[in-house]
Amino acid sequence: MSTSADLTLEHDGDALVARLRGEVDMTNASFIREELTSSVPNDASALVIDLSDTLYVDSAAIEVLFELSRRLGRRRQDLRLVVPAASPLRRLLTLTDVGAVAPMHESLAEALEGP
C-alpha cells in the first residue's frame, strides 16, 4: 500500500491549471513540488492548483504550497487554489494560513477569473 497522487497539467489562457487527485504526504510531496515548479512557464500569469479531487494533504504538502508561493511570487506569478466549500481540506488550509499566500476559490472558473 502506498500513497498515490495523479497530477494533470493543462493551459488555460495564460494560466497553468494543475489538477491534483489523490493524496499528498511526506512520501510524494517533493515529487509534486518538482513537477509543478518545472512545469510553470516563465510567461504564465498564474498557477492554479485544483484540489477538488484531493483527498488528503499533510504538513509536507502545506510546505510545498508555501514554497511554490514564494517561488512564483519572485516571478510575479500568482498561486491560486481551487478548494470546494465542502472540502475537508479547507479548514486545514485556513488554519495554516496557506489561504493568505494562495487565495482559495470554490471553483476552477472562479479561480481562472483571477483575484
Binding site: E23, D58, E63, L95, T96, D97
Partner: protein
C-alpha cells in the same frame, strides 16, 4: 494435479525420472536388495497407475521362475513360482532382451499370457528384462485393467527402473562372489596341508583378481585373472611395483591406506582405478586380510573386483542429484515469499512440504499482500506439472498476480487477467488458483477459485468449506468466466488455503480426503502455527506427501469493538496504511468526513514524528492505538525514540496542526520511548486557536526536549 495434457504428460515424465533417481540413491545408500525390489514395484504401481506389478527372478530353481516382489500380486509363500519357458511373458521378455508392450492380452499371439493375471482382469501389460543380456537376472512387469494401458514412454520408465535394479543386484552379486571367494581362499590357506600349488590352482581358476603379500607387505603372488586384466608380467606385478598400474589421482590414497592397514595388521579395502591391458582405467574394489600363524603375521591375501559400471552409475547419480537439488532449491527460494508480511489484525502462517521424491520441485505457490484499500489479498496456486518449466511459470504467475491484484478490484477480475496471460501464445500451461480478499474491518471476504480446492474455515461452531465462486483452471480457455463469491469470516476463525497435494491421493476419493481435512482442522487448536502442524500431521499422518503441499493459514484477530491497535515499521511508507485503517475505524465510530480527515491527519503527523525519531533505519517500529468511548476518540502513538522536534522548514508545523485539530494533546517522554496521546470529541468541531500561523509557538514547543 492429474490433468491430461501435454503438460500433464511432462509432469508425469518428470516425476518418473525423479522416482528412478530416488531409487538409484536408495540403491547407492546400500539398501537391502529385497527391500529395494519391493520399493521398486510399489513405485512402478504408483507412477504407472498399474494395479499389478511383479518382479520375477529367473534363477535356476527347478522348472519355474521365482517371484521376488509384487504390488497387487503378493508373493505367495506356498507358490512363489512362475512357469519357465518362452511361452509365457516372463520368458519371452528375457529372450527378447528388451521391453515388451502388450496392448491387449486377449489378442496376444507371441506368447501365452499369465492365467493368474487374466483371472484378475488384466487387459494390457508391459515388461522389461533386468540385468544384462549376458547375465540376465529377471523380469519386471506391470499390468493394467484397461486395454492399451501402457505407452512406449511407460516402457522406457520401466526399463529405467530395471536398469537401476540391475546395477544394484549386480553390485550385490559381485560382493557376494568376492566374499565367497575370499572365504574359500582363507580356508585353503588356513589348512597347513594345502600346498602352494593347490592354492595357486584355486586362485587361478577364480573369477576375481587375487594377490598375496608377504609379512613385509611385498606382493609375492598374483593370479592369472589379475595378469590378464593388467596385461603385465608376474615380475612387474610383484614386490612393491604393483601400484604402478594405479591411476595417478588415486595412487597416493591407495598407498596411504594400504600401509596404514599393513602397520595395524587389520583388513584393508580401497576403491581405485587400475590400468587395464587396453589402456583404460577401470574402477576396482581391492580388499586384503592379514594372515597369522598364532600371533605372528605371516602374510596377506587379497582380492579385487571390477566395479566400473557401478562407479559410473554412482557418479552420474551424484552429479544429477546435486544438480537437481540445487535447481530445485534455488527455484523454491525465489518462488515462495521468504517471510510472510506482517499485517496488523491478521495472523498468518504458511507451511511448504516438498514432495517425498526430493527433486520434484512443484508449481505450488502462495502469497499475501496488503492492498491499497486496506484489504488483505491472500492467494494460493498450483501450476500443473513439475520441474523447471512449472517453476518458471509459477514465478511469472506470482509476479503477474502481484501487479494485477493492485489494479484490479476483485478476485474474479484478477483471475481473468491471469488467465489471459496464461492463455496467450499457446503456452499450453495450466494452473489453479484461489484468491481471497479479506476486509479486516468488516470480516467480509470476497473470493474466486480457478479450479482450486476450496478454502476451509474453522469457526467456533466447527469447520466448513467456502463453497462457490468456482470456475475452470487458468490457461484452459480464453475467455473464461471467473466469479466472485462473498462470505463473512468471524474474527478468531481460522481460514486454511492449501494445494491439492494435501488432499489428493490416488487411492482415496477427493471427498473423503476433504472430509478428513475438515475433521482434523476442526479439532486442531492453539497458536496458528501449531494448527498448521496439527493439520499436516493429521492429514498426512507424518508421511512425506507424494506431491508438494502448500498450506496457508489466516486468522483474523479478535478486535475489541471500538479499538484499533497497529504496530508499524518506522518508515514513511507505513503512513498510507495507517491512514486507511484509521479512516475505517473512524467511519465505524461515526465520525464525519471532516472529522475523519482531521483526526487521520493528526495521527499521521504524530506518526511522522515517530518515524523521524526512530533510531536510524532498520526494523524500528512504532505503535498506534485508537479507541472511542461514546463520542470521545483517543489516539495514542508510542515510539521507541526520544521526542525531538522535526528538522528543516517543516519544523513545528505538524505539531501546530495536531494541537489545532485535537481537543487535547499530551506528550509523555519516557526512557523507552515517547507517547503522544490525542483526544477529540466527535460532533463538536474543534475550534482553531489563535497563533497557529506561527509554527514555532504553542505549548507543545516547551515540552520538546
Amino acid at each position: 494435479m492429474e490433468l491430461r495434457s501435454s503438460d500433464g504428460e511432462l509432469h508425469i515424465r518428470l516425476r518418473q525420472q525423479a522416482a528412478v533417481a530416488q531409487l538409484g540413491r536408495r540403491a547407492l545408500a546400500g539398501a537391502d536388495i529385497d527391500a529395494l525390489m519391493q520399493e521398486a514395484v510399489q513405485m512402478v504401481a504408483t507412477e504407472l497407475g498399474a494395479p499389478f506389478v511383479s518382479l520375477v527372478e529367473c534363477s535356476e530353481v527347478g522348472d519355474a521362475y521365482v517371484q521376488r516382489a509384487g504390488a497387487g500380486l503378493p508373493v505367495r509363500d506356498d507358490e512363489p513360482f512362475v512357469p519357465r519357458g518362452t511361452e509365457g511373458q516372463t520368458g519371452f521378455t528375457l529372450q527378447a532382451g528388451e521391453s515388451v508392450i502388450v496392448a491387449d492380452l486377449e489378442e496376444e499371439q507371441r506368447f501365452r499370457p499369465s492365467r493368474r493375471l487374466s483371472a484378475l482382469g488384466a487387459r494390457s501389460s508391459v515388461s522389461v528384462p533386468i540385468g544384462s543380456r549376458e547375465r540376465p537376472f529377471g523380469v519386471l512387469g506391470a499390468s493394467s485393467l484397461r486395454a492399451a494401458g501402457f505407452s512406449p514412454d511407460d516402457a522406457n520408465f520401466l526399463q529405467g527402473v530395471a536398469h537401476t535394479l540391475g546395477a544394484a543386484i549386480e553390485r550385490a552379486r559381485s560382493e557376494t562372489d568376492l566374499l565367497e571367494e575370499q572365504r574359500r581362499l582363507e580356508e585353503a590357506l588356513g589348512h597347513a596341508s594345502e600346498s602352494e600349488a593347490r592354492f595357486r590352482e584355486l586362485a587361478d581358476s577364480a573369477p576375481v583378481l587375487i594377490w598375496t603379500a608377504d609379512a613385509d607387505g611385498m606382493v609375492d603372488f598374483i593370479n592369472r585373472g589379475w595378469l590378464e586384466f593388467t596385461g603385465r608380467t608376474l615380475e612387474e606385478e610383484t614386490g612393491d611395483t604393483w601400484a604402478l598400474g594405479v591411476h595417478s589421482d588415486d595412487a597416493e590414497a591407495v598407498g596411504t591406506s594400504w600401509w596404514r592397514a599393513f602397520r595395524r595388521q587389520v583388513p584393508w579395502e580401497h576403491e581405485y582405478r587400475l590400468r587395464r591391458s587396453d589402456g583404460e582405467y577401470r574402477w576396482i574394489v581391492d580388499r586384503g586380510v592379514p594372515r597369522f600363524a598364532g600371533e605372528t603375521l605371516v602374510g596377506w591375501v587379497g582380492s579385487a573386483t571390477d566395479i566400473h559400471e557401478r562407479k559410473e552409475m554412482e557418479e552420474k547419480l551424484t552429479v544429477a542429484a546435486a544438480r537437481d537439488h540445487e535447481v530445485a532449491e534455488t527455484l523454491q527460494r525465489s518462488l515462495l515469499p521468504e517471510k510472510l508480511p506482517r499485517i496488523d489484525g491478521v495472523q498468518l502462517q504458511a507451511r511448504y512440504l516438498p514432495a517425498a521424491q526430493g527433486t520434484k520441485i512443484g508449481g505450488d505457490w502462495y502469497d499475501v499482500m496488503e492492498l491499497d484499500d486496506g484489504r488483505v489479498a491472500v492467494v494460493v496456486g498450483d501450476v500443473v506439472g513439475h520441474g523447471l518449466r512449472a517453476a518458471t511459470v509459477m514465478g511469472q504467475l506470482r509476479n503477474a498476480f502481484r501487479a494485477y491484484a493492485l489494479v484490479e478490484t476483485s478476485p474474479a477480475s484478477t483471475l481473468a487477467r491471469l488467465n489471459r496471460l496464461l492463455s496467450k501464445d499457446d503456452r499450453d500451461v495450466m494452473a489453479t488458483a484461489l484468491y481471497l480478499i479479506f476486509d479486516r474491518d468488516t470480516g467480509v471476504v470476497v473470493f474466486s477459485s480457478a479450479g482450486h480446492p476450496p478454502a476451509l474455515v474453522v469457526t467456533r461452531e466447527g469447520p466448513h468449506f467456502l463453497e462457490g465462486g468456482r470456475s475452470v483452471p487458468l490457461g484452459i480457455a480464453d475467455p473464461s468466466t471467473y466469479r466472485d463469491e462473498t462470505a463473512v469470516i468471524e474474527s478468531g476463525s481460522t481460514v486454511l488455503l492449501y494445494t491439492d497435494g494435501l488432499v489428493e491421493r490416488r487411492d482415496t476419493p477427493l471427498e473423503s480426503r476433504l472430509a478428513q481435512l475438515a475433521t482434523v482442522a476442526g479439532v486442531a487448536d492453539g497458536e496458528l502455527g501449531d494448527v498448521c502442524d496439527q493439520v499436516l500431521q493429521g492429514v498426512l499422518g507424518g508421511l512425506r506427501p507424494s506431491d508438494d503441499v502448500a498450506l496457508l493459514a489466516v486468522r483474523p484477530e479478535p478486535v475489541a469493538p471500538g479499538t484499533l491497535t497497529m504496530c508499524l515499521p518506522a518508515d514513511p511508507s507505513a503512513l498510507a496504511a495507517l491512514r486507511r485503517r484509521i479512516g475505517h475505524f473512524l467511519k465505524a465510530a461515526g465520525a464525519s468526513e471532516q472529522e475523519r480527515f482531521e483526526i487521520t491527519l493528526t495521527a499521521s503527523e504524530a506518526a511522522m514524528n515517530a518515524i523521524e525519531h526512530a533510531y536510524g533505519p532498520g526494523d524500528a517500529e512504532f505503535e498506534l492505538e485508537a479507541g472511542v468511548v461514546g463520542t470521545l476518540v483517543t489516539i495514542t502513538i508510542h515510539d521507541k525514540g526520544r521526542w525531538r522536534e522535526r528538522r528543516g522548514s517543516e519544523r513545528g508545523r505538524g505539531l501546530s496542526i495536531i494541537e489545532a485539530m485535537m481537543d487535547e494533546v499530551e506528550v509523555t517522554p519516557g526512557p523507552r520511548g515517547t507517547s503522544v496521546r490525542m483526544r477529540r470529541r466527535l460532533g463538536s468541531a474543534s475550534q482553531p486557536t489563535a497563533g497557529l500561523a506561527s509554527p514555532d509557538a504553542g505549548s507543545l514547543g516547551a515540552e520538546r526536549a
